[in-house]
């Protein structure tokens, strides 16, 4: 299976002792400080297994032994299946996978350049771009279909995604039990039935915990349901260093880790062997602008640390990147490169997510394509360098000798594609040639490429009957909640 980025660790920052200390600190927090859990069902699961639960304050204290038991039940290899098995993301520790970024509320129109609320059309188009790109492996509905009736927005997001990419679709919108039921139903339909889905889940849900030390009621109710229904989950801790977590990065990891461990424990007790991925993203609060510093070195370091901790637990890791840049350009590159390289060099299994700007709230189509190129460069860095007879090529050096060149040697052609990064978007032509061809900046070339993809790339459609049934789920939802009383998605 050649999909994804072959893992090679180039960046290690925590020692075994560090990891043990972090784990011990989180266990201490869970046992002595506790965690507030808004879901009565979750509190019951934990109480039934021996936790101290105060129903009035909803505070739950979890003993270390229970966490250990839950970690023991956790699934180590998780496959996020795709409609087309070629694109399965098999999280088994040997490969890293990059996902799209999700749930932006605004889009900058590719043609008019107007910055406006996102539509379902934007959602569908961006799904097709993701489907085409070779360095983005898993899809996440990139924007919310804001032009649809409120109660059905996220169902439309999923439907639009399933219809426009064959890659696995991870969403972040299963935040209440009713939402979870509908989203699961759609997943079952897309896979060809519940049994087929349980074997090969083509959708999954990322759930955020709520720092410091809180688990949202609706989110946990949904998660318990998802776990029993066979939907893979990511529990993603997001304490913001300095604000909802200590300013020290490792202190915030301790807080987030406690939240993720608590979620994982509850789920494993409720549905042993459920597919749960360990997620963490600690971008600090920028203390001068009060904006979340996505794409900061700290964000990258937190992803690298969390990856090491997850792997120590025997779990796949899911980490994130975002950018505070307001438009494509140098700043976006600096932030995306920083945020992607740290965790990927540390071997992150699932790296979310490319293509949005303004702290993951605004879609720029060309940014998706630019980020794809950045991932390509980083993948080359991960591959690294090795010295053996074939690569040292001493015989060849002797053959060529002083003063001649290697261009005409077979060895050169044989190895050039594997040893050298082949850019898709970077233009390395000399100044004269580039200027004669219109002196196009990379952003302009990215826009052109996006238009090409949208005009030429076709995604095999889902069978007609499945498409009809998916629409049916949305229609039922719309009719039963005409004025949008369900809980919606946190746009963050």
């Amino acid at each position: 299976m050649e999909y994804g980025i072959k893992r090679g660790v180039r960046f290690e920052i925590l020692s075994k002792t560090d990891l043990e200390r972090i784990h011990a600190a989180s266990l201490h927090v869970l046992e002595k400080v506790g965690i507030r859990i808004g879901s009565a069902a979750t509190r019951k699961v934990l109480r039934d297994h021996g936790c101290v639960v105060d129903e009035a304050s909803t505070l739950v204290k979890i003993p270390p032994a229970l966490v250990k038991e839950a970690l023991g039940k956790a699934k180590r290899t998780i496959t996020l299946a795709a409609r087309d098995p070629t694109y399965d993301a098999r999280l088994d520790g040997t490969r890293s996978y990059v996902t799209a970024n999700g749930n932006g509320a605004m889009t900058v129109d590719l043609d008019s350049r107007e910055r406006r609320p996102s539509t379902k059309d934007d959602l569908e188009k961006s799904s097709r771009v993701i489907d085409y790109l070779g360095n983005v492996h898993v899809h996440w509905p990139m924007v919310s279909s804001m032009d649809q009736p409120p109660a059905t927005v996220h169902l439309h997001d999923l439907e639009g995604s399933l219809n426009n990419t064959v890659k696995h679709v991870m969403y972040e919108t299963g935040v209440t039990l009713p939402d979870a039921k509908r989203l699961t139903e759609m997943g079952y339909l897309a896979a060809g039935g519940e049994e087929e889905y349980r074997r090969r889940p083509v959708t999954s849900c990322l759930q955020c915990t709520f720092a410091p030390l809180q688990l949202d009621g609706g989110v946990m109710d949904a998660s318990l349901f998802f776990a029993r229904a066979g939907v893979p989950l990511v529990f993603f801790g997001m304490p913001q260093p300095g604000a909802t977590g200590p300013a020290t990065l490792v202190g915030s990891l301790v807080v987030g880790n406690a939240e993720v461990l608590a979620s994982l424990t509850a789920v494993q007790l409720h549905a042993p062997g459920a597919a749960v991925i360990y997620g963490m993203g600690n971008a600090p609060l920028d203390m001068r602008t009060t904006v979340r510093s996505g794409g900061s070195p700290e964000h990258a370091l937190s992803g690298a640390m969390a990856t090491e901790l997850a792997h120590w637990y025997g779990l796949p890791s899911c980490v994130g990147v975002s950018a505070t840049a307001k438009e494509p350009g140098d700043q976006a590159v600096l932030e995306y490169f920083t945020g992607l390289s740290g965790p990927l060099l540390a071997g992150a299994d699932l790296m979310c997510g490319v293509g949005l700007l303004e702290d993951s709230s605004c879609l720029y189509f060309e940014q998706i394509v630019i980020d794809d190129e950045i991932v390509g460069a980083i993948a080359r860095l991960i591959r690294g360098d090795r010295a053996d007879e074939e690569t040292l090529a001493l015989d060849l050096i002797e053959k060529v000798g002083p003063g001649r060149n290697f261009l005409a040697q077979r060895h050169t052609l044989q190895h050039v594609k594997s040893d050298h990064f082949m850019p898709n978007l970077i233009d390395r032509r000399s100044y004269e040639t580039w200027a004669a061809d219109g002196a196009k900046s990379m952003v302009v070339r990215a826009q052109e490429k996006t238009r090409w993809i949208l005009a030429n790339h076709e995604v095999p459609p889902l069978p007609a009957d499945i498409r009809k049934e998916l629409r049916g789920v949305i229609e039922t939802a719309r009719r039963s909640h005409p004025d949008a009383r369900g809980r919606g998605t946190p746009v963050a």
Partner: protein, 215 residues
Amino acid sequence: MADYVARLKQAVIDYDMEGVEKLAREALDQGLDPLDGIEKGLAAGIREVGQRFGAGDLFLPELVMAAETMRTGVAVLEPHVKKDGRARVVHRVVLATVQDDIHEIGKNLVATLLTANGFEVVDLGVNQPGDSILQKAQEVGAELVGVSALMTTSMPRMKELLSSAESKGDRSRRKYIVGGAPVTDQYAKEIRADGTAGDASGAVVLARNLVGERA
């Protein structure tokens, strides 16, 4: 006395959260006019801190600690302010996250920055029904009401609040501003709010404009 006023101002600038209570009590014992202590001391200090933060010279935690220092000092001095004496010129703001929404860090940042800029903030917290918000605003004589939502499906609560305020004749008594990640300029205009801003610093600019201060 001038010395105590200066020291109270400096305590805020130095964010001496632990020492300000003792200083304030000592000042009162020595005969300090509590209103001077608040307005020329503590409030003057927080305004300077707010300015320096706006200029990029200070960091948010310093602002938060300074605001905490001011709050502690005011809690000591305010009960001693004569009710029939000079009134404090105070712009009061009521803040809340709308019903069904429990996200508050953005609102909290706005509260901190408004306090740092001399506003008196009454923060109702999260998941607040519209009626509670309107009632509190009336009770404290707020000039400004700010509501936030992080979730797209909580946003309709903002529209409801504004309609309710309209029908009570409240729109003429105070200004209503909205905020939160999914709340755009367009949406704010659509529901006819008095304004919105993209982050806490922008909220301060907006608030100052609305209460008539130079931004």
